[in-house]
Symmetry: C2
Subunit: 104 residues, 2 copies
DNA sequence: CTCTTATATAAGTATATATTGATATGATAC
DNA sequence: GTATCATATCAATATATACTTATATAAGAG
């Protein structure tokens, strides 16, 4: 339970959950949307994955992350975050990234 | 939202919420139940209070803390914690403390 | 095979957080 | 008044966390 709340107690990770709420994304798109260094994004993704909140799928060079099917409580938290949290800058950066890449 | 999850991402603070789930408690009883230093307990109480999860009431020498009336989301979290989390050692220490004091 | 792209990991650093011990405040008892 | 008890705050320290730079791995493209 501490691990779950710890995973959610960081703005970057809430932004990632919000992004994934709109559907599966590869690391490069998440990195572009967050406008952060790739190792840092990988670091936050690993924490969310470790907490059981997201899952990954390998596809060639790319790794696609999406919201995980967790227990009722975790899913309620994720849904609440997607509903309450918003970051327009992230989504506009994401759109530009998706247009210029082959990963999706 | 980050502040809320941060407040919940610590075992000591989950223990405090669980204790307060059974009713209002003064700092000395919480300190006894947690078996921790009093300044440390005050520190954690201040974080929970700042996050809007608990509220306090002065009564002479004593300060009594209890779960706050928050928004729906906060209350859901607190209820879930009280339901999922348990620490038998805390409650037995609490009982002994309450027997030997005048604060409640 | 070499080059590039996507991602993860490791080492180092900076900042944040938890904890303790000492002290201050404020209320009650004597 | 002084002494005592309950709580909060401060200073110092230890540990955890976020972030960066550099590097490793692994998959395609040429």
């Amino acid at each position: 339970m501490v691990k779950l709340f710890s995973a959610l107690s960081d703005e970057t990770r809430l932004r990632i959950i919000k992004l994934l709420g709109a559907g599966e994304r590869c690391v490069c798109d998440i990195t572009a949307a967050l406008d952060m260094s790739q190792p840092n994004v990988s670091f936050h993704l690993s924490i969310l994955k470790e907490a059981g909140l997201i899952s990954d799928r390998k596809d060639g060079k790319w790794v696609h992350y999406s919201l995980a099917e967790g227990d009722l409580f975790s899913r309620f938290l994720v849904i609440s975050i997607c509903e309450k949290y918003s970051n327009d800058d992230d989504s506009s950066r994401l759109k530009n990234s998706c247009k210029s890449r082959a990963c999706s």
